[in-house]
Amino acid sequence: MKFKVPERLQPTIREIKFILRRIKDTPLSLFGIAIVMFFVVIAAFAPLLAPPVPGLNPYLIPSDPALGFRVEPSPPSPKHPFGTTLLQRDIYYGCIWGTRWAFQVALEVIIPIVAIGVVLGLIAGYYGGVIDEILMRFTDIILAFPGLILAMCLVTVLTQANWTTIDSVLLSIILIGWPGYTRLIRGETLRVRNEDYIEAARASGASDLRIMFRHILPNTIYSIIIVASLDFGGIVLTTAALSFLGLGAPTGWADWGRLIYDGMGFVSGGLRWWWSWVYPGVFISLFVLGWSLLGDALRDVLDPLYRRK
């Protein structure tokens, strides 16, 4: 029996074929997708790859009491394939659970940022005038500061106000991240707003909300997807940077940035304790690289200006 595709699905299938061919033709996209898939698998199977100690928070890297409470890292061994870092914490465990943590952080940040950006950007772009002016000046205020420094200030202030360091890191990245998306969506809204079909929708009696979310948003969604996927790695890099500066995750937390921070004291030893900073470094680099390549691939596929070349 031959499965027959209904005729009205034909264009969809042609489109999917086009996307797949496009991805196949660019090895870098394939590479990016492979990396991201690799990390997804690690994150999904973290409890199998590195079983946590029962009864403990799985994001806390366990120490190995068998190696004693020495400060210096122990080299890679069958029991600790990536070696151990400060206080005999297993680097392999940290890298595996760090992957899951990276996904969690990126999602917890990107979802609110996109939501805020979509709502405010649509409002600013669609209504224009005073509302637009007020919202845009707000974004200007935040964009006027260097992002990382503003994030550091916010983390410091928030931890003083009895927030946990992890929550304050997430919140501060959200606070420095939303203006970019708001601007992006505002710009796209301005482009779409004056199209004839928006006027036609108004002429057929659609309300403002309906026009914004049903007619303008779907026409701007591609750029949001592209930028969000490029940012996915960026957010992890920012959290890692904050951790590296000692402002992020507490010591012992399965966070790549924190692992590098812990390994920083041993860089002075030259290559003597190389495993303590190389492995987490490789994980961060690959993660960010994977998402940038995926973002580029999505742009190739989705952006109408690039796609038919």
């Binding site: 005729e7 264009p11 004839d196 036609a200 002429a203 009696g205 659609a206 026409n219």
Partner: protein
């Protein structure tokens, strides 16, 4: 027909509209007055920038900033009552748009949202303006099915029926809105979708779109210009509007397609008895299609008359010039001397004075009022206002 023609459905009186641009205030409409009678096709002709489109946008109140309506009245006669539409608030207006007055735009493919199929877009107007009818049809169908159904299916259909009845009673019912969000249960909406789809296909068929079942699922980029324009017209006709505004609907189409669309518009007008405000700069189309014509120049209506009268004895010097500049074989090419005045600093008095060969002193001092120069023949020119 005669009886129906006399009733006015829209009367625009002394409409003023300005665009506040960086270069200055563009006085785009300078006291526009015109009336549209039930069942007629009123043509509005004029050069680019004379305010034809802006007038139609003002009737729907969808003028976008920096444009602003500064004064005048738009009287709207519906169900024996007269309203001034400029006093309507936004929610009221959005019920008027599409339901009572709808619009067909110039560039058909730009007037369709590229991310939705034709069926989705026409369906949206059904949901906006004819939801009640559709719910009623679904309920009727469900009642029949419930009687014949058995066992579990009967229960499901009963549940659907109760939901639809609730929706009919109170469109904003919380229970219905909640049910629309729950997976599986949400499927009760499919019945409504099916009904809308059926009606959309029927509508497309009356517009003589070949193979409407297939076209419903097509996206705007897959359609030819003529097909897209038919779909846009379908969208405008969903709610059987009292007035259909057509803003140069055939300008961007091939001549053959243009002829098809014109025939279609005329047929629909005969069949549905709707009123059409037809905006164009093509005098041939006007002669072919319209019952009456309003000629606009630089933000003024300069002449309104029956189409035969206007072509036989044009009174306003601009109309005369316009008719003379229609190219004809064997005749030297003529045009009106001069250019359209800047609307930021329009000349005092009559806006046509600089280009008019009959210009008198008074034309530079006073704006000519729109006076009745013959039966149902109005003209705004000092040549005729003195005598009456």
């Amino acid at each position: 027909m005669e009886k129906a023609v006399s009733e006015e459905i829209i009367r625009v009186e002394d409409l003023y509209l300005n665009f506040y641009t960086y270069e200055g205030v563009v006085k785009a409409l300078d006291g526009v007055s015109l009336n549209i009678k039930r069942g007629e096709i009123l043509g509005v002709v004029g050069e680019t920038g004379c305010g034809k489109s802006v007038t139609s946008l003002s009737i729907l109140k969808i003028v976008v900033p920096p444009g602003k309506i500064e004064g005048g009245q738009i009287k709207f006669n519906v169900k024996g009552k007269t309203y001034n539409m400029l006093e309507f608030n936004e929610p009221t207006m959005s019920r008027v748009r599409g339901r009572y007055i709808s619009m067909v735009f110039q560039e058909p493919r730009a007037a369709l949202n590229p991310v939705y199929s034709v069926g989705d877009q026409i369906g949206e107007v059904f949901y906006l303006h004819r939801k009640e009818e559709i719910i009623k049809a679904v309920i009727e169908q469900l009642r029949k099915e419930v009687e014949t159904a058995k066992g579990f299916r009967k229960r499901v259909l009963r549940l659907y029926l109760s939901l639809y009845e609730r929706m009919l009673k109170n469109p904003k019912s919380l229970r219905v809105r909640l049910a629309s969000k729950i997976p599986i249960l949400r499927r009760f909406r499919n019945l409504m979708k099916k009904e809308v789809r059926k009606r959309t296909v029927e509508l497309l068929r009356t517009l003589r779109i070949p193979d409407p079942e297939r076209v419903v699922d097509m996206y705007p980029h897959e359609l030819s210009g003529g097909m897209a324009q038919r779909c846009v017209i379908a969208m405008a006709l969903v709610a059987n509007p009292i007035l259909l505004i057509a803003d140069e609907p055939t300008t961007n189409l091939d001549v053959t397609v243009q002829a098809q669309i014109l025939v279609l518009i005329r047929e629909l007008q005969k069949k549905l008895g709707s009123t059409i405000l037809y905006i164009t700069h093509d005098l041939g189309v006007v002669a072919e299609l319209c019952d009456r014509v309003a000629v606009m120049y630089a933000g003024n209506v300069v002449e309104i008359a029956d189409v035969m009268t206007l072509f036989k004895e044009p009174l306003h010097p601009y109309t005369q010039g316009l008719l003379e500049s229609i190219p004809r074989p064997g005749k030297p090419f003529t045009s009106i001397p001069g250019i359209v005045p800047s609307l930021i600093n329009p000349p005092p008095g009559c806006r046509f004075n600089e280009r008019c060969k009959y210009a008198m002193d008074i034309c530079w001092k006073q704006k000519p009022p729109l006076v009745e120069a013959g039966k149902e023949h109005y003209v705004a020119c000092h040549l005729y206002s003195g005598g009456k």
